[in-house]
């Protein structure tokens, strides 16, 4: 059996070798929230964990369902579990030392200021357009110093290259094609994961100071 000290050192050593000490430290100290743990959020959280982001705040009120397994990062045996708990299990299998805060709640305009107070970067990964707008408005209104990276327009089988990242303003980034909606066409695993990867990649760039 591998000792925990050895594993902790080995994990960090691998990251330092790739990114250098300074970047590794920045990633480990970063505090990132993932709001919504569906196709976008579950993929984003796994990528951020592999990137070495040290503190993740997972937010979702829902339970894993069979209808999630076609594009969300859950397993058959997790059906019926709360998504925050199911995803936390998976993230700890990747990196047992990731610091996780689990919020099994529905985000509202009212609870948002307290819920997100400790997070530096927020990944918007909700399903409904109204919820996306509520979160983006709330973060920008209450927290001028925080950054929000939202997913917008991921449905259907349109070209993957249309899933793009852009900076709208100082604190707001958008990823997606901006138009395709799940009210008209289904969500597919690959295109959803493309957007999740764009969001996670942007978060890494922001943490490392590459976005200015």
């Amino acid at each position: 059996m591998i000792s925990t000290d050895f594993l902790y050192e080995e994990w960090n050593c691998q990251l330092r070798e790739r990114c250098g000490k300074e970047a590794t430290d920045k990633l480990q100290q970063a505090r990132v929230a993932v709001a919504g743990l569906g196709g976008l959020g579950s993929n984003i959280a796994i990528l951020l964990t592999r990137m070495g982001v040290g503190n993740l705040h997972l937010i979702d009120f829902d339970k894993v369902d069979y209808s999630n397994l076609q594009r969300q990062q859950y397993f058959v045996e997790q059906v019926g579990k709360y998504k925050v708990e199911a995803l936390a299990e998976t993230l700890r299998k990747i990196n047992p030392y990731v610091n996780l805060k689990l919020s099994c709640v529905k985000v509202s305009a009212e609870n948002l200021p307290e819920l997100l107070a400790q997070d530096e970067i927020i990944c918007e990964a909700f399903d409904k357009a109204e919820a996306k707008a509520m979160l983006v408005n709330g973060v920008l209104e209450h927290f001028p110093g925080k950054v929000i990276v939202a997913g917008n327009g991921i449905a259907g089988l349109g070209a993957g290259n249309l899933i793009q990242a852009r900076r709208v303003s100082k604190s707001l980034y958008l990823c997606g094609d901006g138009v395709s909606t799940c009210e008209e066409v289904p969500l597919y695993a690959g295109r959803v994961a493309l957007c999740a990867a764009q969001q996670a990649h942007l978060v890494q760039r922001i943490i490392l100071g590459l976005e200015g």
Binding site: G36, G38, G39, L40, G41, A125, F126, D127, K128, A129, E130, K132, A133, M134, V136, N137, L140, E141, A150, G151, N152, G153, I154, A155, V168, S169, K170, L172, L174, G178, V179, S180, T181, C182, E183, L187, V192
Partner: protein
């Protein structure tokens, strides 16, 4: 006035809420930045647009 990067002519000062309605936006699915500042929904009716303004309107669509 510049709206999402495109120049449009605004002949008179109008409330933001009126502009959004005229252009067909759904207020519960958007975020609006005026000259780089987020405008809370509660202020859409009291904020006036002028021809010198730069407006960014983000429309959200479902899927996550």
């Amino acid at each position: 006035m510049k709206v999402n990067g495109e120049q449009i002519i605004l002949s008179e000062k109008i409330p933001l809420s009126e502009f959004l309605q005229r252009e067909g936006y759904f207020c519960d699915k958007i975020a609006v930045e005026l000259n780089g500042e987020i405008i809370p929904r509660s202020r859409y009716a009291s904020v006036f647009l002028t021809d010198a303004d730069k407006l960014e309107i983000v429309s959200f669509v479902g899927g996550g």
